[in-house]
Symmetry: C2
Subunit: 339 residues, 2 copies
DNA sequence: CTGAAAGCGCTTACAG
DNA sequence: CTGAAAGCGCTTACAG
């Protein structure tokens, strides 16, 4: 008892005699004593650990994940929480495994970009507090952090239009995902507000990775040889935009003098191209920070018995980041070259 | 007892009567029973968790880390181990904290690119098995995974020389680090074997990040205005090479027709530039895989009382990855422009 | 085949 | 101010 009190310092009122205290400290030092985390966790019923679940594939090392994760690590460390990572291969199949992780080894869970279905929502852990970042659907009694992607897309496309662009392509992420559809909606809204219709609007599904961006643009160009190129391409994310840059470089179309190109997210990838990408910033790092704060609040609440039943969406604003890949359109139309 | 035996299945010989077994399973199902990980850890004296320690700064989101980490996660998951991450701000100051993490919450620790000093080596956890990846110095009784960086550098520079390059710059990482010095050594060896001396050899310290690469080349050019540009630049890593591409694009020097450029590591960054970077591949993902395997062996050994006292270095080979940024030098010398 | 008991290493009322 | 005791939820000999 005395040992526990002394060693935990502030935790309990230290009402130990100085001499006893000294002896305890001395012995602890001498023995290189370290309290055992598992035993403490068992007694206190808390691990001081939060879990992060994400799909993490070798093939698509994920800039997006890295930024959010970094924010999570930062805030977790500030609160003396350690972070453990659970990798899934596939949200559809693996969301059942989530429940297994919630076996006392973590106090709460943040799900990064989960792709949930109605069934998998039912399988979500119920005893362990959790929050989502960019979840693809609303979950009852859940907090989800998202950003105003529609607005971001709208702002970017409007900016392109103001520069004089008319014929604009949108290379989308995997259709059906909430965030993807929001970007499509923003794109369409900006186009139609400017009176630009069908013939100027090209929507092609790509994905979220650089190879997918490369493929999508290349395939479209193959199929459209001899037609007019778009004057600008608004991409699903920075990775896709990078893929586009490769295609364009290969065929000798220059960015931004011949064609404008914009990304989304503002990940490290946006600063790794030459010229650097004009993009829509989502505050991913801050969202990671916030996810942990919210989660910690929920953990605290559930400990005090007041389970927070209010579902809420926390919406972050997006921001245009103007760099080197968007410029006024060239005076002459460019024709899709033979590939 | 019976419950434990049944639920753990293979673990103990299941010698339970079918009827008892059925009842147990049924009850477990009905109650949605989940064994408590902390209690199990306490009883079994193992967490089935490995720790990963790395410096993880907001400012320099680290491609290198991401690749190694991904390999670690993969192998850990295969062995049903969870992975927890400890972030340090600074190896020098924080290596004392490492010891605190080793309080029973992890069974072993992998240190990613630790920058150790003699003092911090002494403070390294002794009871918890650990391995290093790219450690900067040899630690007694330790396993360190590294790659043949000298050879990688040598091969790349030799390749440049064979293409006809004579005046070659090496933009180094932070001087003093083992890996950095090895690359410098490989560079120098290739140069001197080819009979290229001082006047053709330009060594400038940069760092490991894109902004540092940008700064270093730009500063050098500022100070060298009117002199001859190098015909090729061999960079400390892919991030630095990306920084160089930015500078060169700004001043209108084309890669690779005017100047050749090579990176190191073959991270995602090497595939995000246009044209893609010619680089030296280190098998980072595989090194992450292997680190976990070795660590798990050591954990097992230490459990069986046979502490493995043999220090060993596991050396992976490097490999030239020829992409788009290295070509024969131009016929005319290029002069450093005024910046 | 089954169950009572001790122990893993802590924390937290509680009685002195 | 101090220490004996119970309990956190498991596993593992051990005796029946």
């Amino acid at each position: 008892m005395a040992v526990s009190a002394v060693l935990n310092g502030a935790r309990t009122s230290s009402r130990t005699a100085p001499e006893t205290r000294r002896r305890i400290l001395e012995a602890a030092e001498k023995l290189r004593y370290r309290p055992n985390a598992a035993a403490r966790a068992l007694a206190e019923r808390r691990m001081n650990t939060i879990g992060v679940a994400a799909v993490f594939e070798r093939s698509q090392l994920n800039q997006y994940f890295l930024e959010v994760f970094n924010g999570i690590l930062e805030t977790a460390a500030q609160h003396d929480q350690t972070t453990t990572v659970f990798t899934l291969h596939d949200w559809e199949k693996d969301s059942a495994r989530l429940d297994k992780f919630c076996d006392g080894r973590i106090d709460g869970l943040v799900l990064i970009a989960p792709r949930l279905t109605k069934e998998s929502v039912a399988a979500l852990p119920t005893h362990t507090p959790s929050v989502g970042v960019h979840a693809n659907l609303a979950v009852p009694r859940w907090v989800n952090l998202e950003s105003d992607e529609e607005r971001g897309a709208y702002d970017m496309v409007k900016y392109m239009i103001e520069l004089g662009h008319r014929r604009i392509m949108h290379l989308t992420g995997p259709r059906g995902l909430l965030g993807v559809e929001r970007r499509v909606t923003g794109f369409k809204r900006a186009m139609s507000e400017a009176g630009l219709r069908r013939e100027n609007t090209i929507i092609v599904e790509a994905g979220f990775t650089t190879p997918e961006g490369y493929r999508a643009l290349r395939d479209w160009m193959k199929a459209s040889s001899g037609q007019k190129m778009p004057q600008a391409i608004f991409c699903a994310n920075d990775g896709v935009a990078t893929g586009c840059m490769e295609v364009l470089a290969e065929v000798g179309i220059r960015v931004p003098s011949d064609i404008s190109l914009a990304g989304f997210d503002d990940t490290l990838a946006a600063r790794s191209t030459v010229p650097q990408l004009t993009t829509v910033r989502q505050p991913l790092h801050e969202m990671g920070n916030r996810a942990v704060e919210v989660l910690l609040e929920r953990i605290e609440a559930s400990r005090e018995g007041k389970i927070d039943r209010a579902a809420q969406n926390i919406v972050f604003s997006t921001e245009l980041v103007l760099r080197g890949t968007v410029a006024p359109p060239p005076s002459q139309e460019i024709v899709v070259p033979q590939i």
